[in-house]
């Protein structure tokens, strides 16, 4: 009876009642709404939203796809997204790392994608080794395909016990959280792209898929050009992970790549806004690994940069992580520290010997730059607020 009610409530939810209410009325709502669909789950510290969008585009080659665009990646967001498209035979869901075990249990995914694991919001999400262990248990129960990044030690440890793993060499990984083996604690040794634990048998698995600079190589050794519209190495990594997952669901490689290639703007990220004679490119970065990648992307040109930092609960209230970001790379560039916690950033820039000024309002910070291109890098709530204001 309760299942009938939940289906009614859940399927009827749409914009009327939110996922949170539906879950209150029936805690099994997620299981009911995923039942009978082919489900892919995407998790990891960075790149979840982009990879989810890429994968949903690729899977749409097979039929209608229900997906949670825009980062509402907890169960209430999943219920809302699934309720809006009750007839879609496919679902591609971005999942917060902390909720992943719960969502795996409810959704019995055909494919689970684990992108990367690094430190993120330590006061909220918890320590990366704890997350790795909970993902390990969850992934071991997945009967479908697990697509995992073998260049990330934490990911490898989390995925290795699963029955059916497709390993992807993405060429990206944040190694600062994995000096010691997540399994036995002994030091990890790197030799070129290969790594192994000096104490146990954890080692880099042989990848089926390989990411090159601007291309991928399939398990059959076929080279496919990526030609992405999104910048940076990490988006190439996201694209190859998404392609491997799409192929696991039955999409032909060429078709998958062709579809995800068209992604140019993910929930406002990477888009350029015109403002007071400026062309401001909006980039989102939430944690040291993400910032490190983004600083590499903006390095391609010497444009002035506005860096926007908030510290709300969704961002993590502890800003210690700013010291793990290599801001030294911005030396010699025109930089404005912005956001509610601009001063914390300004102190970091001072010690990085990056000249800067402080303009807390990011739109005014853009205005204060010389006309022309400006790179705007913001963390989570800072980006969200800026994106909403820029759209007005």
């Amino acid at each position: 009876m309760s299942s009938k009610l939940s289906q009614k409530m859940g399927l009827g939810a749409g914009g009327m009642i939110g996922g949170r209410v539906a879950l209150k009325l029936d805690p099994q709502a997620l299981a009911h709404l995923t039942s009978g669909r082919s489900v892919a789950l995407v998790t990891g510290t960075n790149g979840k939203t982009t990879s989810t969008m890429m994968l949903s585009r690729a899977v749409s080659a097979l039929g209608e796809v229900a997906t949670n665009h825009g980062g509402a990646n907890m169960p209430d967001g999943h219920v809302t997204a699934l309720s809006k498209q009750p007839d879609a035979p496919y679902a591609v869901l971005e999942v917060d790392e902390g909720y992943f075990p719960e969502v795996v249990r409810a959704a019995s995914p055909a494919v689970a994608v684990l992108l990367n694991l690094s430190r993120d919001q330590l006061d909220r999400v918890g320590e990366v080794r704890t997350i790795e262990k909970s993902l390990r248990t969850a992934l071991a129960s997945v009967t479908g395909v697990v697509v995992a990044n073998c260049d990330d030690i934490m990911v490898t440890s989390a995925a290795r016990d699963s029955a059916n793993v497709v390993w992807v060499a993405t060429g990206t990984g944040w190694h600062n959280d994995a000096a010691s083996c997540p399994r036995c604690g002994d030091p990890i040794r790197w030799e070129g792209e290969h790594w192994h634990c000096t104490g146990c048998d954890l080692a880099r698995p042989r990848p089926q898929w390989v990411t090159g600079d601007g291309y991928l190589v399939t398990p059959n050794g076929v080279k496919v050009e990526l030609s992405l519209r999104l910048p940076g190495k990490f988006n190439q990594a996201n694209a190859v992970m998404a392609t491997a997952a799409a192929v696991a669901l039955g999409v032909p490689v060429e078709e998958a790549v062709q579809r995800l290639r068209a992604v140019s703007n993910v929930a406002g990220r990477y888009r350029t806004i015109q403002r007071s004679g400026h062309r401001a490119r909006l980039l989102l970065s939430k944690n040291p690994a993400g910032w490190s990648e983004t600083l590499t992307v903006v390095r391609e040109a010497d444009h002035p940069a506005v860096l926007v930092i908030n510290a709300h609960e969704a961002d993590g209230r502890d800003l210690s992580w700013l010291w793990d970001v290599p801001f030294e790379r911005l030396r010699g560039r025109q930089v404005i520290a912005s956001g509610e916690r601009a001063t914390d950033l300004a102190v970091r820039l001072t010690y990085a010997e990056v000249e800067h000024t402080i303009v807390p309002d990011p739109l005014l910070a853009i205005d204060a730059m010389p006309p022309g291109p400006v790179e705007v890098i913001a963390n989570y709530t800072a980006f969200r607020d800026l994106n909403a204001r820029a759209a007005q």
């Binding site: 320590e127 704890t130 010691s180 210690s320 010291w323």
Partner: protein
């Protein structure tokens, strides 16, 4: 000083670098370099021996597993403890305060021996202490307020040979009353932020201990502004 260049050892940043505490080493280095004191950071990674010749050792925070591994490593390579015996300056943050003591007991009730550098014991508290901290100096050790961000489950009890660094006004610190520990030239704190960017007076105290000379003034407006902001946010005016 053992060499003309002040050497700052960043101890096991790959294990005990979870909370940006690398920033403490940067602050020490820059505050010396900008005043014409030659200084450099020496990274000591997991699996490598720990030299005993450095002038300042900086130990950061880390997860439980990392903490246990760090103790094991520092016992196998006791360079820092030997340096401490000859009076080297040591900063221990968070996990640092726990592993420097006589022992630390985890939430699973297993007690691990510490490095015995300071007279203290630590144990797991009932709840995790997370948030902004404001504390006042103990025994006039430094000027102004101590500010930082704490995120730890451990509680620490000091023995008679160690004295507290500060008295807690906002937050938890060691036990809700005092914060940190000082014993000889070893200074410990639970505070991240990291602690030295937010508390330049503590950085300069460590530099004074290491060089034997009180460093001259260094005016960094952003640092002053940050201290005022954080104290205000915690509801304590910075006097």
């Amino acid at each position: 000083m053992s060499t003309s260049k002040v050497q700052i050892a960043l101890v096991l940043p790959d294990l005990l670098g979870t909370y940006g505490d690398f920033g403490n080493a940067v602050v020490l280095e820059k505050r010396m370099t900008w005043r014409g004191i030659s200084a450099e950071i020496v990274n000591i990674r997991f699996g490598e021996p720990v030299p005993e010749s450095c002038d300042i050792y900086v130990v950061g925070g880390g997860e439980d597993t990392a903490q246990t591994l760090a103790v094991r490593h520092l016992r196998e390579h006791p360079g820092m403890q030997r340096a401490a015996a000859r009076g080297a300056v040591i900063l221990g943050v968070c996990a640092g305060i726990q592993i420097f003591g006589e022992s630390f007991t985890r939430a699973d009730q297993v007690t691990h021996p510490g490095l015995g550098l300071i007279d203290s014991t630590s144990h797991a508290g009932g709840s995790r202490a997370i948030g902004e901290v404001i504390a006042t100096p103990a025994d006039g050790l430094f000027e102004g307020l101590l500010t930082g961000f704490e995120n730890h489950q451990g509680r620490t009890v000091l023995g008679p040979s160690a004295r507290p660094l500060a008295h807690v006004k906002v937050g938890t610190g060691n036990d809700g009353s005092v914060e940190g520990a000082v014993q000889g030239r070893i200074l410990c704190t639970y505070l991240h932020g990291p602690v030295l960017p937010r508390n330049p007076q503590i950085a300069d105290l460590l530099i004074e201990w290491a060089t034997g000379t009180k460093p001259g003034p260094l005016d960094l407006p952003d640092v002053t502004r940050l201290r005022t902001e954080r104290a205000k946010a915690a509801g304590v005016p910075l006097s």
